[in-house]
Subunit: 237 residues, 2 copies
């Protein structure tokens, strides 16, 4: 059975494990309140997230040297503070706001599901987030990772093949004993292309109520589950 040949699960994090949108909006609203500024903080979070793909693209293409997500987030934040006309943040305040991405809340099923999966598998992050971000997030949110893995360790962002291959190598496993878990089909197709197993866990609320998300199963994936509890059921954990 597939679940018996798989030894480790690697998880996409933003959107798959944690609800970045409402967490970032909450952190931004907190700063706005302190500064007497009001804005559409969900839109601010959406714009911040929207800047992330293109800025990683500049690293993937070689236009920028290796740059961590913390630094890419900060580059996008500096533009957004201007766009949303948010005044008077000190360097420390900007740095703290940038670390909103270290303080994201898990989806309601994430911690319980991971605790169950951890009894049967090695569970690790495999995120474009940097190691410090993922470590701080796990500590605050109680995510029980066995190991923090990141695209940072390969210096190649997902979906570059090196990001998945490096993760399997660091776990000391052949790629077909590692299963990538993600809410995003592109991530899973890229993992599958280098030989990893795949589990699709769509998160229809990731982008809020007004944006449709592709939740259709795809026969290319080994497992499809509606949340981490169902994933644990399907993998016998």
């Amino acid at each position: 059975m597939l679940a018996d040949t798989v030894k480790a699960l690697t998880f996409d994090v933003f959107g798959t494990v944690v609800d970045w949108r409402s967490s970032v909006a909450r952190e931004c609203a907190r700063v706005g309140e302190a500064k007497g500024v009001s804005a559409d903080w969900e839109a601010f979070a959406d714009d911040w997230r929207a800047g992330y793909g293109p800025s990683m693209g500049r690293v993937r293409s070689g236009e920028l040297p290796w740059t961590t997500i913390d630094k890419l987030h900060r580059m996008v934040l500096d533009e957004l503070l201007e766009k949303f006309a948010i005044p008077d943040l000190s360097e420390d305040e900007k740095d703290d706001l940038n670390r909103a991405w270290h303080r994201l809340d898990p989806w309601p099923d994430s911690v319980e599901g991971l605790e169950r999966l951890r009894c049967k598998f090695v569970i690790a992050t495999l995120s474009n987030g940097n190691v410090a971000l993922l470590t701080n997030m796990a500590k605050r949110a109680g995510l029980p990772w066995d190991c923090i893995l990141s695209a940072e360790l390969a210096r190649h962002y997902k979906p570059d093949p090196e990001s998945y291959q490096t993760a399997a190598a660091l776990l000391g496993l052949p790629v077909d004993q590692v299963m990538m878990v993600a809410a995003h089909k592109g991530d899973l197709h890229a993992a599958r292309a280098v030989g990893l197993r795949t589990a699709f866990v769509p998160r229809p609320d990731e982008f809020g109520p007004n944006r449709e998300v592709d939740t259709e199963p795809d026969p290319a994936f080994d497992v499809v589950a509606s949340d981490f509890l169902e994933l644990a059921d399907k993998l016998g954990a």
Copy 2:
């Protein structure tokens, strides 16, 4: 106070957190019993450990390309199986015996001390052991690391400066906010030379009852403690 400027503790593992000698001897004795071979398994463990420094030295000098500890352990094991005249191990049995180093028991104070330290600090491994070895060890022994860091991530073995610098960079911290914890003075002096804080926790039983260990405090180190519980006391955790 020093303990308030330090944000993360990085731990040497073999000897500092776990008792490699009695654990490896136990694993070897188990194989010996199954094969009907008797030998001085403590001496076997000592020889195995003694082969580790020179084999890492070949990597550090550039004579060998980057090679994980799992592979270096295996090179030494293959010599020892011949020296101790242990016959008839299949490839799977040799591989399993080599993973004795993934199944090391913690010192009696390690888990409780780490649990306390973890409430105040980010706690991470910083070992020459590879990520897979450290991850499997932590899972089996219940070591509550926030993050698995390894010389493997720098591709430089301790005491090369890059091993410590890479760890601090991955934690997103300046070196003087990271404290290296080790039972070995050479490790601490090398960490201190690149700016890390240092805590010396001597483990007088590391090499068994017949080999003297240097447990003398050294004023160069920021903290000296007899075990991880005293370390937690001294760091206010």
